[in-house]
């Protein structure tokens, strides 16, 4: 095997651009995944499509007229103002909680993690009931912004905490060795890397704010969504409400695009190469007390108010209420069964539907994956009620068998919460080294078997957390259930709602107790598993 041969003309001495030095993770077009992802996207988009069709039934002119007639400008401003205050506040709360828990010697970190997750699983109708019953102090703008920020900051917290955990500690150590203080290191090294996670979390918060209804009604704050609801209730005019929803859809699309641009197409969690070393935690020293006080305050507002109120009203209940409570006890088992059943099936479906989308987003980045992933967020484009009515409408016209069935409700809940499942799965799958799947393929496993034998076992904790997250949201949903729940069935949420007049609050207490216990259990599971994978073998 000797004998030199020049096999090709010499190199065209042009250095390759930097971008090419990184091995692109591009491989064959995953047709099956794309088809599955497209099907899911179509399903999620269905309510949007139906609503647009309803809005434009009478022509574009009629739609514009009914938007004009509603003079939605002030309400739109209200919605935007709440989002403008609540979203950054949730961002600051979420990032600070994550940084103190992941990077400092804060005492009782697991407890604080749990308490930082729990507000997310606490049903918003319980929280808003509590805030409203405190009195007029919290009514209006500040209450509206506050309840959103303190209920949704956990989503920022979860994503940022996962990103912090996946970050290479060497970057931070290098910054410190270059003479940067902890604070400067945070702003110049850590925060820029957290941007994708932070923006992704804040996107979910802002989208949720724009379509929130229950909380704003309870706190007597007029927003765009509240107005859309009023349209339905006052005039039963679905086309008028649908026309107004067009604005909401437009707003959602603009936000999705803006966030995507701001993120620069970066991944949520970067695949971290190299060995995961435990980070050296900062000593809080004298700052320990104020930081703990801050955590206590946040927990007090986000969890103390709803839980405290529940206990208070229970102890203050009238005799009538207590009688109601005992009368309601026999409703408890069926309501729990329905709620848990809905939650489990919704969680299972949401995870199944979110898997192809998140796999595409993590492993096959490109225009198609981006469009599919972004389109799942359009489930936030419509207020729950509008989406539910659109689905009911579509079912009654095209799938009469589904109309009025529990399956339709399950599907609606699934679609409603799919973006959370996608986000949670992305945070999980993004941490699994592609080389592991490559190795499995080279050992003769097809894509499905490689997924089943390598990816899924590794991702199991994170996948479970994604499911539990959706489960908790389904438990905390009221709007969709109210529209689509078949007659004769009731959930913990609808029963709580029906019985939660303050005079007879104790009647609602059993449902509240079960709901809160279930959601706290969910919070525990999420805090324990969110975004986690069986760690890769370092060398």
């Amino acid at each position: 095997m000797s004998g030199t041969s020049a096999l090709a003309p010499g190199p065209a001495q042009r250095p390759l651009p930097r971008a090419l030095r990184h091995q692109p993770r591009h491989r064959r077009r995953p047709i099956a995944l794309l088809i599955a992802g497209a099907l899911v996207a179509v399903l999620v988009l269905l309510p949007v499509i139906v609503t647009v069709q309803q809005a434009l039934q009478g022509g574009v002119h009629a739609a514009l007229n009914s938007i004009d007639a509603a003079s939605p400008r002030t309400l739109l401003v209200h919605s935007v103002l709440v989002a403008l205050l609540a979203t950054p506040l949730a961002g600051v709360l979420g990032v600070s909680a994550a940084w103190f828990i992941e990077r400092t010697d804060l005492p009782a970190r697991r407890l604080w993690t749990l308490l930082a997750v729990a507000p997310l699983t606490m049903p918003l109708f319980v929280t808003s009931y509590a805030w409203a019953s405190i009195g007029s102090v919290l009514d209006g703008f500040l209450g509206a912004a506050g309840i959103i920020a303190f209920s949704y900051y956990p989503i920022v917290f979860l994503l940022v905490a996962v990103a912090l955990r996946g970050m290479d500690p060497a970057l931070e150590e290098t910054a410190r060795s270059l003479g940067m203080s902890a604070r400067r290191t945070f702003f110049r090294v850590i925060l820029p890397q957290l941007r994708p996670a932070l923006l992704g979390g804040m996107l979910l918060v802002v989208l949720d704010t724009l379509v929130e209804f229950d909380a704003f009604v309870a706190l007597k704050y007029q927003t765009f969504t509240v107005h859309i609801y009023a349209q339905y209730q006052l005039s039963f005019s679905s086309s008028g409400a649908a026309a107004l929803s067009l604005i909401s859809i437009l707003l959602c699309v603009v936000l999705l695009f803006a966030e995507w641009r701001a993120r620069g197409g970066a991944n949520y969690t970067r695949v971290s190469q190299g060995v995961r070393r435990p980070v050296a935690r900062y000593r809080l020293g004298r700052a320990k007390l104020p930081v703990v006080a801050g955590f206590l305050a946040a927990t007090g507002i986000s969890l103390g108010i709803p839980l405290g109120t529940l206990v208070y009203w229970f102890t203050q209940s009238s005799q009538a209420g207590l009688e109601g409570a005992s009368a309601n006890v026999h409703h408890l088992a069926p309501a729990t069964l329905t709620s848990v059943g809905l939650g489990l099936s919704g969680a299972l479906l949401a995870v199944l539907f979110a898997l192809p989308i998140s796999l595409l987003a993590v492993r096959h980045r490109g225009p198609a994956a981006t469009v599919l992933e972004r389109s799942t967020y359009l489930s936030f484009a419509l207020p729950d009620l509008v989406a539910a009515i659109a689905l009911a409408y579509a079912a009654s016209h095209y799938a009469p068998g589904l109309y009025g069935s529990l399956l339709l409700l399950v599907l609606a809940e699934t679609m409603l919460f799919i973006p959370f499942a996608v986000v949670a799965l992305r945070a999980t799958l993004g941490q699994i080294e592609p080389a592991l799947e490559d190795s499995a393929r080279s050992l003769g496993l097809g894509p499905l078997r490689a997924f089943a034998r390598v990816t899924l076992p590794l991702a199991r904790p994170g996948v479970a957390a994604a499911g539990v997250l959706v489960f908790a949201f389904v438990l905390g949903d009221l709007g969709t259930a109210q529209v689509l729940l078949p007659p004769n069935l009731y959930t913990l949420g609808t029963e709580f709602n029906a019985n939660s007049s303050t005079v007879a609050f104790a009647a609602a207490a059993p449902f509240a107790a079960v709901l809160v216990s279930l959601t706290m259990l969910a919070a525990f599971l999420i805090m324990d598993r969110f975004g986690r994978v069986r760690t890769a073998v370092g060398s």
């Binding site: 095997m1 003309p9 010499g10 080389a435 490559d438 499995a440 390598v454």
Partner: protein, 363 residues
């Protein structure tokens, strides 16, 4: 017969060429090393061979079977029977070492466990390792298990992607030997990708040099080192002193005097390549009878490595060339000292300036 044959492999990413038409053959039962800097396209080539990436042009034949032809045929990676050892090993963290090794085997074979033990033994690990969780293995053991895992299903060829990166020098050498031993024992054909010259030269039966998407030379390690096809390859494969010269009649006149040419056929202005170890430092100029092929130089400084010393010298002639020489001598000339240099053995010349096409067979 070639176990692996790539023809005209080309690949671009977003309009930027990464591979510009690569032909490569790996003879059966041998190891070929692809040597390239980062960004040279070597990993892309590997991923095309195994099927993780589709080429824009060209074909891949494994064991006489066409497995990929751009635009026409793309056999999935799991249908190619190509073993793959990823950088850092990529062991499945949820499985034990033995389960990792058995991963690609049939259920029955896995149960029997004989092949798992065999594969572990091949890489020099005993049966006790099978039970160990993957994360409890040391870096070197992880690489061995990764190779055992790739070898267990008896692939037609094994691809190794920088398999020793991140290991320290001693472990690297040890693991390298274990890998070579296992491959030889199994008679497995292997393709190794590396940016490490010493690794490529010491492991490959043949070494293929990939520069900026072109395969510029494929040769045995000694050929490659002694007769590189261009100054660029010469510098990439090892340290080289390249200076202008004038060739004629099998000799070249250059800063080192009149030297014999190893690759005759060039006339006129050329570039002369001398390896540092060809430059002999003669004892300090006690007798100034400067003969042919001897030049005077002044010592600039030196770096002592124990076994060898690298001495930096400036030639006193009109060239003013600064060169580095390796010496194993006990006596190391001091900085500022005058010495005489002699170039031992014939030298390689390049007829065309660097970067221009070098016609095949010229070297």
């Amino acid at each position: 017969m070639a176990e692996l044959r790539c023809e005209g492999i080309a690949k671009s990413y977003r309009g930027r060429p990464v591979l510009a038409g690569v032909d490569l053959e790996v003879p059966e039962g041998t190891l070929t090393a692809i040597l390239g800097a980062s960004g040279s396209g070597k990993t892309t080539l590997l991923r095309i061979v195994i099927g993780f990436v589709e080429a824009d042009a060209g074909s891949v034949v494994v064991g006489g079977e066409l497995v990929a032809e751009a635009g026409r045929l793309h056999r999935e990676p799991d249908k190619r029977a190509i073993g793959y050892v990823a950088q850092e090993g990529a062991l499945f963290p949820h499985l034990s070492a033995g389960e990792n090794v058995g991963f690609g085997l049939s259920r029955a074979e896995r149960k029997r466990g004989r092949r798992i033990a065999e594969a572990l033994a091949l890489v020099g690990l005993d049966q006790a390792y099978a039970e160990r969780p993957a994360h409890e293995l040391s870096g070197g053991e992880q690489r061995r298990v990764a190779l055992a895992r790739a070898l267990a299903p008896r692939p037609r060829i094994v691809l190794l992607d920088e398999p020793f990166s991140g290991l320290d020098a001693a472990l690297r050498a040890e693991t390298r030997e274990a890998v070579l031993h296992a491959l030889r024992e199994e008679g497995t054909t292997a393709l190794l990708v590396t940016h490490d010259q010493a690794e490529a030269l010491s492991m490959g039966r043949e070494v293929a040099v990939l520069r900026e998407g072109w395969l510029v030379q494929r040769a045995s390690p000694t050929e490659l080192y002694r007769r590189p096809v261009s100054a660029d390859v010469a510098r990439f494969v090892g340290e080289a002193v390249v200076s202008p010269g004038y060739a004629g009649g099998g000799h070249v006149a250059c800063a080192f005097g009149e030297l014999e040419i190893a690759n005759p056929g060039c006339e006129g202005p050329v570039e002369v390549m001398v390896r540092p170890e060809q430059i002999l430092i003669l004892a300090s100029s006690e007798d100034a009878q400067s003969g042919a092929g001897r030049v005077e130089a002044r010592v600039v400084d030196h770096a002592y490595y124990g076994a060898e010393t690298v001495v930096r010298l400036t030639l006193l002639g009109p060239s003013g060339l600064t060169v580095r020489a390796r010496t194993f001598a006990h006596q190391i000339p001091a900085p500022g000292e005058l010495v005489e240099l002699e170039v031992s053995g014939p030298v390689v010349v390049f007829g065309a300036p660097e970067g221009q096409p070098v016609p095949a067979g010229q070297a």
